[in-house]
């Protein structure tokens, strides 16, 4: 096994108090890692560092033997649900084709090969029959699978998902994770979530972030760890769905 993500002493601040402090993390090839933490724990910031959108204030981030910016081509990214206007005039198939953007020629459009890769991705996430639908007409779960297909169309070695199930119903949430379970054999997966209880059934390891990396474990979470993570005794975890 060799680690494909290595964070060494990564700290970050937006100019005020530190958002991340001395985060050390190594993700092995083939792992399915859940990155959990309460709101404001620095999850999104860490993700932006992994994607090369932010530079750590100190420490080092290395992905696939290079800087995150160099590794971008090999990272498939599924953004949060609400990252773009849902009434945008674009079909599901066109969205998935955008996964091929890094590979297409500057002049001219997508090639037959790109369309074939996009088709495979749409089939794999069970949204092929929705390819001509405008994205505004899709349900939350369908849209999330289209975004996953777009990330798969990039043919990634590392798949990063930011709160993939934040605004979809529990049934669709299970579908997404069952899909990820299938993909696990082909790529390393990193899922950011605040829903510890749910993802712990699927992932191979959990890393808990609350400014620092407070724990990581391959077994089920105990109450003690959750207490460590949230910094105060937690009496009850309620699984709320919107």
């Amino acid at each position: 096994m060799n680690p494909i993500v290595i964070l060494k002493g990564v700290s970050f601040s937006y100019g005020g108090p530190p958002v991340l402090e001395e985060v050390d993390l190594a993700v092995e090839e083939g792992e399915f890692l859940g990155l959990v933490g309460p709101n404001g724990s620095g999850k999104s910031t860490l993700l932006k560092i992994l994607l090369g959108l932010l530079e750590p204030s100190s420490g080092q981030a290395e992905i696939l033997g290079g800087t995150p910016a160099q590794a971008r081509g090999a990272i498939g990214y599924v953004p949060q649900f609400a990252a773009f206007p849902h009434d945008f005039p674009i079909s599901a198939g066109e969205v998935v084709l955008q996964g091929r953007l890094g590979h297409v020629r500057i002049f001219g459009g997508y090639r037959a090969k790109d369309r074939e890769i996009a088709r495979q991705a749409l089939l794999e996430t069970y949204v092929w029959d929705l390819k001509d639908q405008p994205i505004g007409s899709l349900s939350g779960g369908q849209l999330q699978r289209v975004l996953l297909a777009r990330a798969l169309a990039t043919q990634p070695k590392l798949l990063i998902l930011d709160e993939p199930t934040a605004s979809i119903d529990p049934r669709a949430e299970e579908d997404i994770f069952d899909l990820l379970k299938k993909l696990k054999s082909r790529m390393t997966i990193l899922v950011v979530s605040h829903d510890i209880g749910f993802i712990s059934q699927y992932v191979t390891r959990i890393a808990c972030l609350n400014r620092r990396l407070v724990c990581h474990t391959t077994s089920a979470l105990t109450g003690e760890m959750i207490q460590q993570l949230y910094g105060s005794p937690v009496r009850m975890i309620r699984h709320t769905t919107r």
Binding site: L51, L53, R72, A83, Q98, L101, G102, S137
Partner: protein
């Protein structure tokens, strides 16, 4: 109306105005669609009003106002584009400042120019009946540039408009394409100013595309329908304004505004019935 068609067949200036309207509709249909889906009508408004600065300066130095307009539109587009990428939070204020400062510069230079300042009104509200024939060639060239750029970079523009962050992660030069898109919007503004003037530009830029977007769910068909609607509005407005001798630019905007209102009511009514 028949008087209009008789005049159109015989009068040179009316033919030029009519062709000018058609040429403007192409730019407005294509780029207006981007302005509507990317929600940048405020940016486009900033560019349009800042253009008066360039026109005023060109007028003062005795150059053709359209060359000043092109220069000012390009500078305004790049400044506004850069500001909106760099300082997202305060971009709003900075664009508003450019909006008014550009106009102020224009008004001052026009007032300093000796002679009778008849042109100010036609810059502000357009004068489609006074388009010089030479400007038709400039408008056609700008149309050609816009269509060529959109044909070549359709996918890239779409990606930047839809999900900027993802496009950046795929290694697309997002800043370049965003600024190129704004550059094309700026050139469109210049074309449209000839027809309706810089105050009314935003309506002609957004209304045809906004109507088209109510019925179509793909970008390319929206562009085509918006272009056709633009041609109907400019042609219709010109025809309606002819006999009662109304200002053509304002009549065109009223036609477009009425169509938008009717379309809103129709789609709203249809949606209510479906529920």
């Amino acid at each position: 109306m028949t008087a209009f068609f008789h005049a159109l067949a015989s009068q040179d200036f009316l033919q030029i105005a009519f062709i000018g309207g058609l040429l403007a509709s192409i730019a407005c249909g294509v780029m207006g669609s981007y302005v509507v889906v990317k929600r940048m009508s405020f940016l486009a408004g900033g560019i349009a009003h800042a253009v008066l600065g360039g026109m005023g300066v060109a007028y003062f130095f005795g150059k053709s106002p359209i060359s000043g307009a092109i220069a000012a539109a390009l500078v305004a587009a790049w400044v506004i584009g850069w500001v909106s990428l760099r300082w997202r939070q305060t971009a709003d204020t900075i664009i508003a400042a450019l909006w008014s400062v550009g106009m102020a510069v224009g008004v001052i230079f026009i007032s300093m120019t000796p002679g009778y300042n008849v042109d100010l009104m036609s810059y502000l509200f357009g004068n489609i009946l006074m388009i010089p024939r030479s400007d038709l060639y400039i408008m056609a060239t700008l149309d050609g540039l816009i269509m060529l750029a959109v044909l070549v970079f359709y996918q890239q523009f779409m990606a930047v408009c839809f999900d900027e962050e993802f496009a950046r992660l795929r290694g697309l030069p997002v800043v370049f394409f965003y600024l190129l898109l704004l550059t094309l919007v700026a050139l469109t503004v210049v074309v449209l100013i000839q027809v309706v003037g810089l105050i009314l530009v935003i309506a002609l830029l957004t209304l045809p595309a906004a109507i088209a977007a109510q019925y179509l769910r793909r970008l390319a068909p929206i562009m085509v329908l918006a272009t056709i609607l633009g041609m109907l509005f400019t042609g219709g407005g010109l025809a309606l304004s002819y006999t009662p001798d109304l200002p053509a630019g304002a009549t065109i905007i009223l036609v477009a505004g009425t169509a938008y209102l009717v379309s809103l009511l129709v789609t709203g009514f249809a949606r209510r019935r479906r529920c």
